[in-house]
């Protein structure tokens, strides 16, 4: 069964929703993975669309979680809007 590959499965529950990762299936190719994904993840729960993606094609980030914490000091994004005028001359 060395020919089996892992496919990540994404399901869209209703039109307008994002496709969300729901799990994986193992299959020899993408069309077969799609059939399995339909049986496996769309049999009970609402679904209007499925994506299957070969895991080998996924590039996962290698950064430590702390890297994503960088640059949290973003006070400038809260410019104050209407309050800016009443604050007086800069």
């Amino acid at each position: 069964m060395a020919y089996l590959r892992i496919f990540e499965v994404f399901r869209q529950k209703a039109p307008g929703d994002a496709h969300q990762h729901v799990g994986e299936v193992e299959a020899p190719d993408a069309p077969a993975a799609m059939v399995l994904a339909k049986e496996h993840f769309a049999r009970r729960e609402a679904c209007c669309s499925l994506w299957v993606v070969d895991r080998a094609d996924v590039l996962a980030s290698h950064w430590a979680p702390e890297v994503f914490d960088a640059g949290r000091a973003k006070g400038y994004r809260r410019s104050g809007g209407a309050r800016a005028r009443s604050a007086g001359p800069a």
Binding site: M1, I6, V25, E26, R44
Partner: protein, 295 residues
């Protein structure tokens, strides 16, 4: 004496397969999830044997769907195990088909009457819900995520069981007697299914310390009793335990202990019934080999 939490530092937050996982955490997670996985794959052999013999079209549809769900749970957990241990699907199939029978006690008993699968769906899928609801917060991320789908489907199984038992209880005296026989047979097995109390549980405390497991066996058994004792009685059935009583002050049930020696011998050594389930899976594998053959 050191507590399990001191012996086993709990990894912070949710653990994912691509992180550095301490060896003892990985070993504990593997033992627990492989056991669950094999139960989901071997167990439904009992169920799909009942699909052709189900007493109504509706019951047939329910059991076809239920056994399909259970195998699906097994496949999901098989993926979780593969990423956790690096073993391949082929290696796992060999382990499931020919390896030691590491699966739940309840599959080691015969399911000879129609009431058996119905009682199991009602009481034991109900018991699984009790445990799995806590596992949604398990520290191993892929396992906790798989539990979302599994738990929803176990809810359907429990409702099927309750409906089918209700139908039998609405039938004649022979049907009601069959259900009572079922409760008598499955009561202690169901209590045992939660596993021994912490002080007698070899792996429980470490699993709790790792956050792999979120509730103690005894606590799960107690909350199942609180839910199911009234449910069983409301169905017009008797519980075959004279010492069953609730201490309202302590909020605890007293009950007759299951046969723990039998429980551990089934989990360690298996049974003829369990061996037969594995044999059926081997036959299914052989019959379908042409489909899987590489060319």
């Amino acid at each position: 004496m050191t507590t399990p939490a001191q012996q086993h530092p709990v990894p912070a937050g949710q653990v994912e397969p691509w992180q550095d996982i301490p060896d003892d955490y990985r070993a504990a997670a593997t033992r627990m999830i492989e056991f669950h996985m094999m139960s989901e794959i071997v167990g439904p052999v009992h169920e799909f044997r009942w699909v052709p013999r189900a007493p109504s079209l509706q019951a047939k549809l329910m059991f076809a769907a239920k056994s399909q769900d259970e195998v699906g749970h097994g496949l999901m957990l098989l993926r979780v195990c593969e990423d956790l241990t690096g073993k391949s699907r082929a290696q796992y199939l060999e382990q499931i088909l020919d390896g030691p029978p590491r699966f739940m006690n309840i599959f080691h008993y015969p399911w000879d009457e129609w009431v058996d699968p119905a009682i199991v769906a009602w009481l034991i899928d109900g018991a699984e819900i009790e445990r799995q609801a806590t596992l949604l917060r398990s520290s191993y991320g892929p396992y906790a995520r798989a539990m979302r789908k599994i738990l929803k489907e176990e809810g359907f199984h429990h409702h099927c069981g309750r409906y089918l038992i209700g139908r039998m209880m609405a039938g004649g005296p022979r049907q009601r007697a069959a259900v009572q026989r079922g409760v008598d047979r499955w009561w202690l097995r169901t209590l045992a299914m939660f596993g021994p109390r912490d002080e007698n549980s070899r792996h429980g405390p470490a699993l709790m310390a790792f956050g792999l497991k979120l509730a103690r066996n005894e606590d799960l058994r107690q909350s199942w009793l609180t839910k199911f004792v009234p449910q069983i009685r409301a169905m017009g059935l008797e519980i075959p335990d004279d010492s069953l009583a609730r201490d309202e002050e302590a909020g605890q049930w007293a009950y007759t202990e299951p046969d723990w020696a039998e429980f551990s011998s089934l989990l360690r050594g298996g049974s003829p019934v369990g061996a037969d389930l594995q044999r059926d899976l081997r036959t299914a594998r052989r019959v379908n080999d042409w489909l899987l053959a590489e060319d």
